[in-house]
């Protein structure tokens, strides 16, 4: 248990497990720490001063804080490429055996940094707005500049290999979500739990307890941490309580929906360890829907802004106490503490008790007189009143502090400076409540002049307790947590009496003074750099310069200087920055603006956001009952909505797989000359029953349904109320009060909602019900001249062309399976659509192929389907139409029943003058003069190809294919006044300058009389 290699580790104290020593590597050097350490506490224990180089000036930087607010100690984790994690805060990373970390900045290393020369020289050449001013012109070069700047700045890097870990989400519900397990949060959770409420308590640290884990105070005469342990034990026993340590509440969204990010295995290793062969998820997003939310998020201590306050060895005062008391680490030997308040005196007392030297406490107040001040005096600690540290001395580590009397109101140095020899400067300028989550609700925080900080404004159902709303005293914070929880539950109609908080000493503290930036003998612009935002290298001078350049709102100052724009979101610097801007502008802090925070509170790994919605689970894939057969046949698939539809079925010809063009040519010819088969199961199918079913159809379709007899099928067009085509399909009359509607594959859900919408809101008196049966039926289209012969081999249905006509449907058996067969055609050929209950589909399909062998039954996919229907001029709603096309634009006058008795949807719009214009875009066919040309879908059509740009555009190509039947390219298009342009030659200009010559023709290219589907 030798600790000789950890020079700053105390012999005793702290919550670390001294018996468990862990090896880790930082910047290639091996060190040792203990279980219970963070990477930061272990580095400090080993006396590592420089942990990074700064973003812009490349100055050496050390650890400043002990939690999420740390701006400097960002490290790159990972010993292998796949395990790389950028920008991890060392203060929040638990130490584990073998941890490997590197500084994110600094080349070739943090000790000897090439960029620092640039930083030293560049300081004066890199004022705020430097990037804007320098790299904006010429604008086209920005992309190039940006790459170089990013590389130079370097904020970690992403792994180049696949992440071996998995991530997931968990949906949680509770009566009360308590964020933060410090004194207020524990008291709140205990109050709610004892009242029987469902409670979630989350805390971002490795161990719950918050400030109690490092507190000097006693609770019920015992160390405060013991009370915390007892409460956590009690909560853990309660099965209505969910405890989530290592879990950061990152975003408050609407209606008490809060996202929590739980780091599940990051304290165990760089990738999740395998347990029973399974690697559990590395981190998890809890999606919490809470009845009420209680924020017990504590406060962040503000450092003072003085010269060279970024030299390693400068820390915030509370962090010093945390390292000593919680981790048994004193981060130095000789301390100077510079404060504006009593609370921070604890750092000096802790330091003194650790047996190291407190050189002096420099207090900005003239006569500090609180109890802690008295304690320090009693120990003989030198207290320099009315003064502050003006400037730190040293390069890679503090070696002195220049101290002088100051006048805070006049912002000037009033006394002679004295240099105190020391290696650590801790500072405290007060405490900012952590109001981020409250701010996510959109509520603007308000400035409190007594607390010297913003306190949260709270929307209904959100509560704050303890330091999060400025109640910093321990006894008061405990009581506050309990009473706020009780209020929150009352809002849910549940009564909960606040727990009796443990007895805590009341410590009388004197009033703090307002001090943010410490004055220097030199004006701010000439003084040594006084850092406000260390992560983004924003100095007090930069903020002052921004105000001089005319930026008055803090929102503008922030954007100009990048204050608060780092991954730490300016947790330490924002208020100081606002105070400096306010001083420069001669205004108060609230007058320069409030501070706005947005999710996320700390960076969240993409994996946790994505969860398991990735790879083959990224989006649902919908399969038909025949999917497996298609896969086995080597089909290529096309995404149609979420469906996977066979696109084409490439065959091996002479050992070579067909291209799509070859496969489609073969499939198209097979349908026109023999027989093909298509899996049409994806078409939407809606069962419609009721005495008013027929009436309802007449109102939602443009055409007539009054006389459609059972056994018959009709094609229908559906318009939106603007008269534009929405969907199309066939509807069959199954019985006098019973219809089966089909919709397009993509339109199915929309049509179903459309029918329900009109029924429920406009015509509730109609007796009709709609039920989706899309998935119940499998649909197989057998089409081509040989279709009848093939089907007749396996069905008992009379297929005689007089008995079973085009647009008829019949019941019967196909391959011994009960089937409904519809004689409808989307190819223009003889076609039967066989519908069977989906569980039996594969048997029917396979039987068709057994019998189809002699006809060379050819499976075809959506591409061939498109070619065949386009040859017949049959539209696809959503491809040939785009929400601006009427049935009449499509030339389907026969499908619009203006004389129907009821005002059907779209009728009124179709009688407007605009929809009757002669120059509307009308549906036509196009034939390229050069038959080898296949036009591009979406291409524009013009009269004069030589007209200077902007050309007069007549319309555009909606569908275009090569037709093996026509041995030519052909297209469908919408063209202004197209029906009057038949036979005209028009042009389709292409981006490369050439223009294709096309002839306007009828959209029906094959069998214009429609004889083939009637055979």
């Amino acid at each position: 248990m030798s600790q000789s290699n950890q020079p700053n580790r105390l012999r005793q104290g702290g919550r670390i497990e001294r018996a468990r020593t862990l090896d880790f590597t930082f910047n290639g050097k091996r060190y040792q720490g203990h279980a219970g350490d963070t990477l930061a506490s272990a580095l400090l224990a080993n006396g590592v001063d420089v942990v990074n180089r700064s973003f812009k000036y490349s100055r050496p930087r050390g650890i400043v804080a002990a939690g999420a607010e740390e701006p400097n100690a960002l490290v790159q984790l990972g010993s292998t490429e796949a395990a790389q994690v950028p920008n991890v805060r060392a203060t929040q990373q638990a130490l584990f055996e073998g941890l490997t970390a590197q500084s994110t900045n600094g080349w070739p290393n943090v000790q000897r940094d090439v960029m620092s020369l640039v930083g030293k020289l560049g300081g004066r050449f890199m004022p705020p707005g430097f990037y804007y001013k320098t790299f904006m012109a010429p604008a086209s070069m920005w992309m190039t500049y940006e790459k170089v700047i990013r590389k130079g700045a370097g904020l970690g890097r992403s792994p180049m290999e696949n992440d071996p870990d998995s991530y997931d989400h968990l949906n949680q519900h509770c009566d009360l979500l308590v964020v933060g397990a410090g004194p207020a949060g524990l008291a709140a959770a205990l109050t709610a739990a004892r009242a029987g409420a469902r409670v979630i308590l989350c805390d971002e640290q490795e161990e719950m307890g918050g400030s109690l884990l490092a507190s000097r105070e006693l609770l019920d005469d015992q160390p405060a941490a013991q009370w915390a342990e007892r409460v956590i034990d009690e909560l853990a026993e309660n099965d209505k309580v969910t405890l989530l340590p290592r879990t950061t509440a990152n975003g408050y969204h609407d209606h008490h929906f809060v996202t929590l990010h739980e780091r599940r295995t990051e304290h165990l290793g760089e990738t999740a360890p395998r347990v029973d062969g399974y690697r559990s998820s590395r981190s998890r997003m809890h999606r919490v829907r809470a009845g009420q939310v209680l924020l017990a998020t504590g406060a962040h201590e503000r450092p003072l802004v003085y010269g060279n306050n970024d030299v390693p060895g400068n820390l915030v005062a509370g962090a010093v106490s945390t390292y000593i008391r919680r981790y048994g680490v004193v981060p130095g030997n000789k301390l100077v503490l510079s404060v504006s308040n009593d609370h921070a005196y604890r750092a000096a007392l802790d330091w003194d008790e650790a047996g190291r030297e407190v050189v002096a406490i420099v207090d900005a107040r003239r006569q500090p007189d609180g109890e802690l001040v008295e304690q320090a005096r009693a120990r003989g600690i030198r207290i320099i009143e009315g003064s502050a540290v003006l400037e730190a001395k040293g390069d890679k580590r503090v070696d002195g502090a220049r101290v002088a009397a100051i006048d805070t109101a006049a912002f000037r140095v009033t006394g002679q400076a004295e240099v105190l020899e020391c290696d650590t400067i801790a500072s405290s300028g007060g405490y900012s409540p952590v109001i981020h989550l409250a701010s996510h609700t959109g509520a603007r925080p308000t400035w409190d002049d007594t607390l010297l900080g913003f306190v949260p404004s709270l929307v209904k159902g959100v509560h704050a307790a303890g330091s999060a709303r400025g109640v910093h005293d321990l006894a008061e914070g405990l009581a506050d947590g309990a009473s706020k929880a009780s209020e929150a539950l009352a809002a849910l109609g549940k009564s909960a009496s606040a727990i009796e908080p443990p007895r805590a000493d009341v410590i009388r503290e004197g009033q703090a003074c307002a001090l943010y930036q410490v004055p220097h003998e030199k004006p701010t612009l000439r003084a040594p750099k006084q850092f406000v935002d260390m992560q983004n290298d924003v100095t007090a001078a930069a903020v002052e310069l921004a105000t001089r350049e005319g930026f008055e709102s803090i929102e503008h100052v922030k954007r100009y200087t990048a204050l608060g724009f780092g991954t730490d979101q300016g947790k330490l610097g924002n208020i100081n920055g606002m105070a400096i801007a306010a001083r420069c502008l001669g205004r108060s802090i609230p007058e320069v603006g409030t501070t706005v925070f947005r999710p996320n509170y700390t960076p969240v790994t993409f994996g946790a956001i994505v969860g398991r919605h990735c790879r083959d689970l990224f989006d649902p894939e919908r399969y038909t009952a025949l999917h497996q057969w298609h896969v086995e046949q080597g089909a290529e698939f096309e995404d149609v909505g979420q469906w996977k539809r066979p696109w084409y079925f490439p065959r091996k010809v002479n050992g070579k797989l067909e291209t799509m063009a070859e496969a489609v040519a073969r499939e198209s010819l097979a349908v026109r000359t023999g027989v093909g088969i298509l899996d049409a199961s994806t078409l939407g199918k809606i069962d419609i029953q009721g005495p008013d079913a027929r009436e309802f159809l007449g109102r939602v379709y443009t055409n007539k349904w009054a006389k459609l007899a059972p056994g018959r099928v009709r094609y229908g067009l559906m318009c939106k109320d603007d008269g534009m085509l929405m969907d199309d399909g066939t509807t069959s009359c199954l019985g006098e009060n019973h219809f089966l509607m089909t919709t397009t594959t993509g339109g199915a859900a929309g049509v179903m909602e459309w029918l329900e919408l009109w029924h429920q809101t406009e015509w509730p008196e109609l007796q009709v019900y709609f039920t989706s049966v899309t998935d119940h039926w499998a649909t197989m289209t057998v089409t081509g001249p040989e279709a009848r012969k093939l089907l007749s081999e396996i069905t008992d249905i009379d297929l005689d062309k007089e008995q079973f006509k085009f647009m008829d449907w019949r019941n019967g058996k196909v391959a011994d399976v009960p089937a409904r067969v519809f004689r409808i055609s989307f190819t223009g050929e003889l076609a039967y659509e066989i519908n069977v209950q989906a569980n039996y589909a594969l048997h029917v399909w396979k039987t068709l192929f057994e019998h189809g062998k002699k006809y060379d039954l050819t499976p075809y996919g959506t591409e061939t389907m498109h070619v065949l229907r386009a040859e017949k001029g049959l539209i696809i709603a959503g491809q040939d139409t785009d929400g601006s096309v009427t049935p009449e634009d499509l030339g389907m006058f026969w499908a619009v029943g203006y004389d129907k008795p009821f005002q059907w949807i779209g009728k009124r719009a179709l009688t407007r003058p605009d929809t009757a214009r002669k120059d509307r875009k009308q549906f036509v066919g196009l034939r390229p003069v050069d038959p080898t040309v296949v036009l591009e879908e979406g291409a524009h059509i013009v009269v004069d190809k030589d007209q200077p740009i902007p050309m007069d555009m007549l319309g555009h190509v909606t569908s275009s294919y090569y037709s093996p039947n026509l041995k030519s390219g052909f297209a469908l298009a919408v063209i202004k006044g197209g029906r009057d342009r038949m036979g005209e030659t028009l042009h389709v200009p292409m981006p490369d300058g050439q223009a294709h010559e096309v002839e306007v023709v009828s959209p029906v290219f094959i069998d214009p009389k429609g004889e083939r589907q009637h055979v």
Partner: protein, 220 residues
């Protein structure tokens, strides 16, 4: 004759008389076309056990609660659930009826019974305005059991499945992963999912992936 014109409505017995091979909506998944590793078997360590109850009869009932309740009681001896989101089972537990929407219920019966049940319901309903639709080919039922079943559901749906909100006898249509399904609680130790055929493969793969950490096993 598989088709009977029932008054003005055509009913249809989808089942062949001959023995014909059939495939449930999970057949693709079970044939491992889409999952790289075979479905894990159930063992003593399985925190979740999944079993498909394939080929059941699923009927969608639409109409007024009072007439449908009478008819269902007469034919099956079960009352329609009295509350929204209710689920009622017969004594054998093989037949169930659940609320889907204010005028819509899902009736599940043993496979092959659905056509006869439909006819008897139609007889009982007489002239009332209602609809009965066979959906048996379009959906399948999957049961989830095991101590980790609830946690698996929490990974998948934003519905609150805590026993205080989702007790036995409740059934809800929920968002599940990026799809949706019907979630039922017929017994203390069992959940049932009704999956739509076309989404079944995706949902099954999701459940297996989400259940891997609990050692999920598939009962075949």
């Amino acid at each position: 004759m598989s088709d009977i014109t029932y008054g003005q409505v055509a009913t249809f017995n989808t089942h062949p008389e001959a023995a014909i091979p059939s495939e449930s909506p999970l057949s693709v998944a079970f044939n491992q076309i889409s999952v790289s590793t075979p479905a894990p078997a159930v063992n003593h360590a399985s925190g979740v056990r999944l079993e498909e109850k394939a080929f059941l009869g699923h009927l969608i009932l639409r109409g007024g609660a009072i007439v449908l309740d009478e008819a269902v009681r007469k034919v099956l001896g079960i009352s329609l659930p009295g509350q929204p989101l209710g689920l009622a089972l017969d004594e054998s537990g093989e037949r169930s009826v659940q609320w889907l929407s204010p005028d819509e219920w899902l009736l599940i019966v043993p496979g092959g019974e659905e056509f006869e049940v439909e006819q008897r319901l139609r007889d009982a309903l007489g002239d009332a305005h209602y609809a009965i639709v066979d959906a048996s080919g379009g959906q399948t039922l999957v049961s989830l059991e095991g101590e980790k079943a609830r946690e698996l559901l929490m990974k998948s749906t934003n519905y609150d499945v805590h026993p205080s909100n989702f007790p036995v006898g409740k059934a809800v249509s929920v968002v599940f992963a990026k799809s949706s399904l019907i979630l039922r609680r017929p017994a203390e130790d069992r959940y049932e999912l009704v999956l739509r055929r076309s989404f079944a493969d995706y949902l099954y793969r999701w459940i297996l992936d989400a259940g891997a950490e609990y050692g999920i096993g598939v009962q075949r």
